[in-house]
């Protein structure tokens, strides 16, 4: 990877209105270009809004859809991660995020873990993705994990072991649990988690959360860029739209990995053996012995 400027577009998409959201993406992308940003990360389902329910099928796009053409064109000037509902072959609908660069779609990640509890209902409407892959870009090797994917540390491990230097996490996190925490109980948990991942996997973590309200639920913003020592490099405002810009560079990553060679010492063979043992046990009576 080289030194570059990345930005998080902390926006409030309009629920169910792809056209308005495309215009918003273009506007923010032009602003990012004017600030010499090289990579712009939008939140989860940034082109559609989050609590879609039965609208999922109406707002879905195929990956090569003309609707994305304007953004693909803009990606010749700034690489982008955009969130959308992808209609895959067989009419499976995925919560997806695409990496656009040089006028092309370089990579699509389909959300693997679809939360279906509490206020979430994703498995009712969406199909789960089946892959976690790092991918090469002009700016370095990256991986995308969408929101709930990050709450399963194995997916973060896979991304890091697959060589990701920058972990991109589009999110649509509704605030829950008012108390003494600022601004929500779940927001402070997120902050602990992404900083720990930066530290444990010695990689950059870009957390791109949205703002705005849908059916009374409020997305808390607070997007953040975390460095490979777990330090917070930049933090967006809570509850308000923002364009969060941060510079990342290979030197920081190199020094962190020298100081803390956790990835070098990773025992994937051991992990694989033990996971296989546990799976065999689960196929039988319970945890393997």
């Amino acid at each position: 990877m080289r030194r570059f400027r990345l930005a998080v577009a902390q926006i409030a998409p309009v629920l169910g209105d792809v056209e308005k959201n495309l215009a918003l993406h273009e506007k923010v992308a032009r602003e990012a270009i004017s600030q010499s940003v090289n990579l712009l990360v939008f939140p989860e389902l940034s082109l559609t809004g989050y609590f879609l329910k039965d609208q999922v099928t109406s707002v879905a796009l195929a990956g090569e859809e003309p609707a994305l053409a304007a953004l693909r064109n803009l990606s010749q000037r700034v690489a982008m991660v955009v969130g959308f509902v992808e209609e895959a072959p067989g009419h499976r609908f995925h919560n997806a995020a695409a990496y656009l660069e040089g006028g092309e779609i370089r990579h699509i990640h389909r959300k693997v873990y679809l939360p279906t509890y509490g206020i979430f209902d994703e498995q009712r409407y969406l199909a789960a993705g089946g892959r976690v892959r790092a991918f090469d870009t002009a700016l370095g090797r990256m991986a995308i994990l969408i929101c709930e994917d990050m709450w399963h540390p194995a997916t973060v491990g896979i991304a890091a072991w697959d060589g990701a230097e920058i972990l991109l996490c589009p999110s649509a996190s509704p605030g829950r649990g008012l108390g003494q925490a600022e601004p929500f109980q779940n927001s402070s948990t997120w902050e602990r988690v992404i900083r720990a991942y930066g530290d444990l996997f010695t990689c950059f973590v870009v957390y791109a959360n949205r703002v705005g309200y849908e059916d009374g639920a409020c997305f808390w913003g607070g997007s953040e860029v975390v460095g490979p020592t777990g330090a917070s490099l930049a933090k967006a405002r809570y509850l308000e739209e923002d364009l969060l810009v941060a510079a990342v560079d290979a030197g920081t990553l190199r020094r962190a990995r020298i100081a803390n060679p956790l990835l070098r010492d990773e025992r994937l063979d051991l992990t694989l053996r033990e996971v296989e043992r546990i799976l065999r046990g689960q196929a039988g009576e319970g945890p393997g012995g």
């Binding site: 209105d17 329910k53 601004p183």
Partner: protein, 273 residues
């Protein structure tokens, strides 16, 4: 174990943002709120004024002949403090005209009728002024069913429905609702000397703790009893929540088609907004 203290400044920001967002998304810029003189409607009016500006908030005062004069004075205090529009509609003639035909009606029927009379006035002024009806029901009364269905429970946008009564008081103090309103005994003011806590048989402090454990912390009744809460009290609260579930839902619809409203026809309320 139960901490109902709020980070009030954050909540204030979220709720004023909510009012602004939900009202404008629906294509409006005004709200209409029934001011009773109590802390809930006072707080709703304070938050709406901060969100939309005093010129966009219309307070409607709807006394009945037995309403306490103190209530009217407190409602007027809110109107004057905020500089919002106000209008008084006495509901005595219509309520009394109706009960002239049913003189044996008890407190409950009369109270419900008054609440629904007020609702029809609020929605009429909603149409007259082009403003959404702002709700004032808090989480405690919504969970206990301590409200009139299609009466005071009716609204378009409710900023307080996820705050317990004791939290409403904290936030009201924080946004500087006059102390005399925050500290007085809560009352539905349907008859002289009525107070919520006497009618319910417990204090808001007590019931908010139990509700928070049952609802927010997902405790079961035996967990609370093991924690030392009075069994009769906990079961009574649980029963009230269960018995009033119907008030928190649309009327039950007999399913015969392949796609039924709210069962398998599911769109967000903010659909197309």
């Amino acid at each position: 174990m139960v901490d109902l203290r709020l980070e009030c400044e954050t909540v204030r920001k979220i709720l004023t943002g909510f009012i602004d967002n939900e009202v404008r998304k629906a294509g409006f810029e005004r709200v209409v709120v029934g001011l009773s003189g109590g802390v809930d409607s006072a707080l709703s009016a304070f938050l709406a004024t901060e969100a939309l500006g005093p010129q966009n908030v219309w307070a409607i005062l709807m006394p009945y002949r037995t309403s306490s004069p103190e209530s009217a004075a407190h409602a007027a205090l809110v109107v004057n403090t905020l500089g919002i529009h106000s209008l008084t509609v006495d509901i005595t003639p219509m309520v009394d005209a109706y009960f002239a035909g049913f003189p044996d009606a008890d407190h409950v029927r009369r109270g419900n009728k008054m609440a629904r009379e007020r609702m029809t006035i609020l929605f009429d002024h909603s149409a007259r002024l082009g403003g959404l009806v702002l709700g004032t029901s808090n989480k405690t009364e919504l969970l206990l069913g301590y409200g009139t269905l299609y009466g005071d429970m009716a609204s378009a946008v409710n900023p307080l429905g996820d705050l317990y009564k004791t939290q409403v008081r904290q936030l009201a103090r924080h946004v500087k609702v006059p102390t005399v309103i925050v500290e007085k005994q809560p009352s539905a003011d349907l008859w002289a000397g009525q107070t919520d806590e006497a009618e319910l048989g417990f204090t808001y402090e007590e019931v908010d703790k139990v509700l928070s454990l049952l609802v927010d912390q997902r405790c079961e009744v035996p967990d609370l009893i093991a924690e030392g809460f009075d069994e009769k009290f906990v079961r009574a609260v649980y029963h009230k929540v269960q018995a009033s579930q119907y008030k928190r839902r649309l009327p039950v619809i007999a399913k015969v088609s392949s796609r039924t409203i709210d069962r398998d026809f599911r769109y967000p309320r903010d659909w197309g907004r």
